[in-house]
Symmetry: C3
Subunit: 255 residues, 3 copies
């Protein structure tokens, strides 16, 4: 695996996102994450999972630079892959906790939302779903994930402004469950996932699937029609222009 | 149009409810509102909408005096019209903000609930859904709208008491988003709608439709069976008696 | 009736749970409750219902001692009975208020959740859904009931920890609506149910059914497949071991 590394400690798998400086998600990384979750789901020696990033970045979200250069076929297939991954991680039945050690906007936030609990590092970090300002249409499945934790009203209002939250704001609105110092985040996240792992495993996991029934239905639903509208927008001059200007900003050397 | 007036200011349409003293909703007014929203939806020169009322009244809700005198056919067709209008305004895709400059019970509150944000004037005003005390059965679609903003528990409890809120209470429970002095309400509402209008329009509007998917399904669902039960109650002696006594109160000259 | 007693006071039925020391629910008690609700639903002389328990125990939940000794056929039929009862009480249309005068975990909490309002006695009591620690898989229908009052996020997190709440915590999270001294609980609950009974009855009751439409659908859904998974877990050595140790604790004489 090139973009993630995984270690196992006493039945707990720790997936560390590890791609470039900011863990931006491209096809390879989403594929590797998907494969890893698939393997862990089958592995009887693993009872729970923690996902974490690198210093200052849990994940910056989708790799807009790579995505910008995808052709029509590649873009379509990537978005299918990403929504399929969203469905898979939502339906992952073992305990799954995010240790969000830095920025976590957009796609980074989606991964965190799929987890059972979220611990975030204090600091000048951002987290939230900011698709609308970027010119990306928010699918119903992503709203369902946001609304599951924030409630419909807060999910709606914040999505339609593309609001990004500080860790304190994220805690207050229920987007994360706990804030810690950076150096304590793995300990705090491990405490949470091991609490879940202490219950009778099948009881806990089947209950989790029952509790997520509607959420799994929303993320697993056929979204081809929504994707068509979304991809049409993706290729529109206005969204291309927003993406171009974002990418130019990302690629400009910091002075 | 006899019951509403509309002006346009820099791509923003301002619909002013303007019927009688209290903007109570009758067939003509609901039809005109519906036609106006239909036109605005098609009009490429309009990017967003504000709905406001007159001093002290956003809208007093349905015109019970006129409705009381409808015959069976008229009552049935009015309720179909009103629920159809509710579905239409819920699925209206351009930014829509309510400037609630006075009382807004029942049907007035329904219009406000369909908006993306609500600004309300401070003062001795009431807002909320008080159908139950009036003897009107609350349809599932209206509950869905209330629960979208208040959460299911608060929507349930308050509907079953027909609770009317002061502006402060409405803010606290999430029924409105902001309170202002009467004289500042249009400015405050305009600030909100223009914030939405600043985003790439198709991205914002398609996202809005995706976020409202379940709500649109609930308001657009065939409610004929519910309506039958509701109309049977409407014509029952007990509800007729409540309506009669409310109307007598409304028509009595204030001493 | 052996396990419940019912009195009627001015159109208000008061059901008192009365089985053993702790009102634990067995087949007989669930059947009697179901029959009583069925009769009250039909009885035109009754306009509302209060359910209460005995000192210190609203209901300790399912009678694990009796259930532990059920054979496969009996266990399966009991769980079908209990989920059917849950569907019935959720769809009960007359005003229904719980006077929770003591402990109310698991099945006791489920009965309370089906009510329109909950008043709880102050004191060292517990309430909540703790199926997961007991080794019982939580069905989707029970999650729907919990989430209706607590919101999805709180329902999810607390179910997956099997959290039991103190009365103060239950009030803060919205699981109960009011706390009172033990001696005032019937007065407080009566005040609430009579408030509902004061409205035009058919309007209130049909509105209640409309507001609960999704909840009734969730509890009335065919859950045979979920039950199969749940029963398989019920008979697994790990859940049998948890149940055995709980029962041993219950049957040990207090020193």
């Amino acid at each position: 695996m090139n973009t993630i590394s995984t270690s196992v400690k006493d039945r707990l798998a720790i997936i560390t996102l590890n791609r470039g400086k900011s863990n931006s998600l491209n096809r390879e990384m989403v594929t590797e994450l998907s494969d890893m979750l698939h393997n862990i789901a089958q592995d009887e020696n693993i009872g729970g999972v923690m996902i974490t990033g690198k210093d200052h970045f849990f994940s910056a979200g989708l790799d807009l630079i790579e995505l910008y250069h995808y052709n029509e076929e590649e873009a379509k297939s990537f978005w299918h892959l990403f929504l399929g991954f969203t469905a898979q991680i939502t339906a992952f039945k073992k305990p799954l906790v995010a240790a969000i050690n830095g920025h976590s906007p957009a796609g980074g936030c989606v991964i965190a939302l799929a987890c059972d609990a979220r611990v975030m590092a204090e600091g000048k970090y951002i987290i939230g779903l900011n698709e609308v300002p970027v010119g990306i249409i928010v699918p119903h499945s992503i709203f369902s994930m946001y609304a599951f934790w924030l409630g419909k009203s807060n999910a709606y209002k914040n999505l339609l402004e593309g609001k990004l939250f500080s860790p304190d704001e994220a805690l207050a609105i229920g987007l994360v469950d706990e804030l810690t110092k950076s150096e304590s985040i793995l300990t705090a996240a491990e405490r949470r996932v091991r609490k879940y792992m202490a219950f009778e495993a099948n009881t806990w996991q089947q209950s989790k699937l029952n509790l997520r029934k509607d959420l799994i239905a929303a993320t697993s639903a056929d979204q081809s029609k929504d994707l068509e509208i979304m991809l049409k927008q993706w290729w529109s001059p206005s969204t291309r222009a927003i993406l171009k200007s974002l990418i130019d900003g990302l690629q400009k050397p910091k002075s």
